[in-house]
Amino acid sequence: MKRLVELDVNGEPRDAVVHPGQTLLEVLRDDFGLTGAKRGCDLGACGACAVLLDGRPVNACLVLAVEASNHRITTIEGLAEPGGLHPVQAAFVDHGAIQCGYCTPGMVLVAKALLDERPDADDAEIREALSGNICRCTGYVKILEAVRAAAAALRPAP
C-alpha cells in the first residue's frame, strides 16, 4: 500500500508517495531528480549511493524511503555554499581527485561527515571512514590527498 512520506532533503521539506519497498535512493533519484547519489551496486558494498542521514553516512540503497521520514537527509546537491563549493568539494577539484566522478558524491559526503565530527582526523581515520566507498579510477591516492587538504583548510588557523 502506498503512503506519503515527508522528508527533509538538504533543508527543504519534500514529499513523495511511495511503495513500502522503495528505497531512499530511488526516491531521491526518480522522484526528486537528485541524481548525485548513484546506483552503483545497489547492495551496500560500493558507497556510490552514500547520503547523510542526520549527518551520518548511509547507503541510500539500503534505507527504505518510509524509514527516512523525520530524518535530515543531505545529498551532494546540498553541499555547496552560496557562492562557492564546500571546502571538501573544492579540495577534490584542486587535487585531481575526480576522474569519472561516479564515486565522488559519496566520497565527498563521507569526508564531510568525518571532518564535521573529527576535524583532526589523521590518515588512518580518513582511510577508515572512506573504507565503505570504492573507486575504480583514481587508486584513492588523490582522494586521500584532497581530504587531508580539506581537513587542513577547515581547521581554524593557529
Binding site: H19, G44, A45, A50, N59, L62, G132
Partner: protein
C-alpha cells in the same frame, strides 16, 4: 524495488511488534537496520510479505551500565554505537572491535547489534542475484532440494559469518528475547542451532531485545581478530574472539576462544581452550596449537571455497589470544 514486495509496519511497542509477528507467522520478518534484510529482498531470497520495523519501539537502543559492573546493550544499538562506546570498549574490547569491523562505516551506521547476532547464514550458491541462481535448480536454502556444497548428503551447510557473536560468546553474554509469553534470557551460545537452513533458535514471534555482558573478572582481557579478503565490507573468512584470564605468574589461567565464518554457527574449540591453560601467552604463532586447532576442526564444508581456513583458524585464534592476554596483563598491572 518497485511495487512493494512487502507491507511495512512500524509498531511503537514491543507487544504490538510481537503481535504482528504472531499474526503473520512465517510471512513476517522483524526489521532493524535493514542492511541484510533489504539485500535479501533484492536478491529474491527473502519473500516475507510483512516487515515489522523495531525502530519505533522505545528503550531498545541504549547501552547501559549495570549495577554488577556489566553492560546491557539494546538490540537496536547500531554497530557503530557499540564500536565507539566507551563502556563497551572497557567492559568487552572484543565486542567493540568486532562491531567496528563488521561491514563498512556506512553499513555500521544502520546495521544493529541484534541484527548482527541474528544474521542469516551465507553461502556463495545462495547469496547471489536471482539471475545467477536461475542458472541451476534452487538450493536447499532457497527452497529447493539440493545442496551444491554438501552434494553427498544434500544437507545445507551455509556458513555463519557475523562478527559480533564470537565476542559475545567468549564474554559469556546472554540474550533476552521477548515473545507472546514474556521474556526469556539465554546464553548467546545457545542461540545458534548449527543448521544452515534455520541458524537462529528463535521462535518466529520472538524478538531479540537486549544483550547482557557480565562484568569482566580481574586479570582478564578480550580481543577479536578478523581475517578477511579486504579490511572493510567483507565478511570474515575466519573471525576469532578470545577472552583470557591470567594467573598471578602471568600464565594463562583460563581462555575462551570462539570462531565465526567456519561452520553454520559460531563455536568454541574445547581442545584449544584446554591446550592454552597453564601456558604462557603465545607471543608468536605456536605450531602445536595451530595444528591442534586444524585437527579439531576436522574437514570443513567450504560454502565460500576458502581451502586454507583450517590453517588460518589457528593463527587467527592465537593472535586474538595474544592480544587478549596483553590486555589482561595491562589490566593486571593497573
Amino acid at each position: 524495488m518497485q511495487d512493494g514486495p512487502f507491507e511495512y509496519h512500524a509498531p511503537d511497542s514491543l507487544d504490538q511488534a510481537v503481535g504482528l509477528l504472531r499474526e503473520h507467522g512465517s510471512d513476517a520478518a522483524p526489521f532493524s537496520g535493514g542492511t541484510d534484510l533489504l539485500l535479501a529482498y533484492k536478491r529474491g531470497t527473502l519473500r516475507a510479505r510483512h516487515i515489522v520495523s523495531l525502530a519505533g519501539i522505545p528503550d531498545l537502543r541504549a547501552i547501559e551500565s549495570r549495577l554488577d559492573g556489566g553492560l546491557a546493550i539494546g538490540a537496536l544499538a547500531t554497530l557503530r554505537e557499540v564500536a565507539v562506546s566507551n563502556p563497551v570498549r572497557s567492559t568487552c574490547p572484543a565486542l567493540a572491535e568486532a562491531a567496528g569491523r563488521a561491514g563498512s562505516p556506512l553499513l555500521r551506521n544502520r546495521g544493529t547489534l541484534g541484527g548482527n547476532v541474528c544474521l542469516d547464514t551465507r553461502c556463495w550458491y545462495f547469496n547471489q542475484s536471482e539471475a545467477w541462481r536461475a542458472s541451476r535448480a534452487p538450493c536447499e536454502k532457497a527452497g529447493g532440494d539440493e545442496c551444491y556444497v554438501n552434494v553427498k548428503e544434500n544437507l545445507c551447510v551455509a556458513l555463519f559469518a557475523a562478527d559480533t557473536p564470537p565476542a559475545l560468546i567468549v564474554a559469556g553474554a546472554e540474550a533476552t528475547l521477548a515473545g507472546p509469553d514474556g521474556e526469556r534470557t539465554v546464553a548467546v551460545e545457545t542461540l545458534y542451532s548449527g543448521d544452515g537452513l534455520l541458524p537462529i533458535a528463535r521462535a518466529g514471534e520472538e524478538v531479540l531485545i537486549r544483550l547482557i555482558i557480565p562484568a569482566p573478572g580481574p586479570r582478564s582481557g578480550s580481543a577479536y581478530v578478523k581475517y578477511s579478503v579486504r579490511d572493510s565490507i567483507d565478511f570474515p573468512i575466519v573471525g576469532a574472539a578470545a577472552m583470557v584470564v591470567l594467573a598471578g605468574d602471568g600464565s594463562i589461567e583460563a581462555a575462551r576462544v570462539a570462531f565465526t565464518g567456519i561452520r553454520a554457527a559460531p563455536f568454541r574449540i574445547p581442545e584449544l581452550e584446554a591446550g592454552l591453560e597453564g601456558r604462557d601467552p603465545p607471543g608468536a604463532a605456536d605450531g602445536e596449537l595451530t595444528a591442534l586447532t586444524a585437527k579439531a576442526l576436522g574437514s570443513l564444508w567450504l560454502s565460500d571455497a576458502v581451502p586454507h581456513k583450517r590453517r588460518v583458524a589457528g593463527l587467527t585464534a592465537l593472535e586474538a589470544v595474544t592480544r587478549a592476554a596483553e590486555r589482561a596483563g595491562a589490566e593486571r598491572a593497573a
